[in-house]
Symmetry: C2
Amino acid sequence: MSDRPELDFPRPLTTVDVVIFAIRSDALQVLLVQRPTAKNEPFPGAWALPGGFVDIAADRDLEACAARKLKDKTGVVSPYLEQLGSWGSAARDPRGWSATHAYFALLPEQAAGGVQATDAQWFAVDGEKVKPRLAFDHAEILATAIQRLRSKVEYTSLPAYLMPPEFTLPELQRTYEIVLDRPLEKSAFRTRMLAADLIEPVARMRKGPNRPAQLYRLKKAKAPVFFARTFNPPG
Amino acid sequence: MSDRPELDFPRPLTTVDVVIFAIRSDALQVLLVQRPTAKNEPFPGAWALPGGFVDIAADRDLEACAARKLKDKTGVVSPYLEQLGSWGSAARDPRGWSATHAYFALLPEQAAGGVQATDAQWFAVDGEKVKPRLAFDHAEILATAIQRLRSKVEYTSLPAYLMPPEFTLPELQRTYEIVLDRPLEKSAFRTRMLAADLIEPVARMRKGPNRPAQLYRLKKAKAPVFFARTFNPPG
DNA sequence: TAAGTTAGTTGGACTGTACAACTAAGTATG
DNA sequence: CATACTTAGTTGTACAGTCCAACTAACTTA
């Protein structure tokens, strides 16, 4: 770096963290990892969002870095992955001025079930918090992620990324209700969902505990589609 | 750093860039600065978003850094400032792996008129582009900022931050129309804007080229307020 | 065979928007 | 000074989508 003296000044630590959501046991859950207890490690033993330093040799860009960390923890290769924002300050990491680029990912339930990292564990989201205290400013990042998820659910097809490839309308509605944490009106949900043109019926039917239900799948769309209006709570 | 050998690895360059918007001459404009032409400088002479390296001695956090750069260029102290996202890759800066934290700011017209930095200049936004080619990946950042602004205008009170302290309803509607680049229906705009409870009437009236018009001001609200529905284009 | 459960439909009340026509108060022009 | 023009703001009708409750249909379970 001696040939570029103008770049010889202290740089912040740069990390990437990923908020990984899934619906498990009829609840919105988030994947956390336990921090190592080695000497010099900040927040030893505390729970934290999966993440770590950017590896400028291995990571082509920030999103690739986030995808790598997600794959390391879950084995999932191409889920829904969206940038959440960045948090940087002198105080957030005892090792020095640091900035993290936060992403959030959505996993279908069966992919979430395949996670088997020994230091990782799923926690139910309660309001905008989880039970364990989180390392760094991860509680704030998580709260922001939950807000973003809830907000986007109001007007996009995001929850479809939490579903298996084929699903029934009541199953999809149930996912919306879990994420929003409030009941939705059946008839209006159906009308809007079909009008939004996000999903298409599949030939097959599902044999349930009652009458066969129509299966749907998400239409091909790179980005989540926007609804024209927000859901209004019944009552 | 020798007492923390685990932190001795190459770190990305960390910068902050600010997309500064204002309505000038009945058009949405953005403030750009011309890059220096000194040796070793990337993109010499090209236009770029105002920004630069994070100064870990001077900047408490990322937002303070963005506010500092905004004040340096415009003199404005507390405008609307929101994080836009971050862009980081090995390729975006010839000096090495770099990550920028992008913010966007909204200025009222008279504050925008006070900008007098010699290397800064306002450019009209055409679609999602500006006339000059931009340095780094700033064209992509600017396009994202415009999309974010347009999208938020649909369902929040953001454009009020582009207005002077007191304004008439038709003036506010004109600002919405400039940002959205499409006409809005007068009656529906009025009904929704008043129902949203974002603005309150001021005792005074403005003497215009026609009958006196009622002045309004933005109600005290830290964050922009959300509308329940989106605007639909007439016709 | 009867009762229970869930998928999906139907219809009426209500609400907010789109749109056009209208009124009112000022300015500009001959 | 009278008339035409411009723009602020209102009114009223048509329409679309939501809320909500009641209903039908198909399958399961006791």
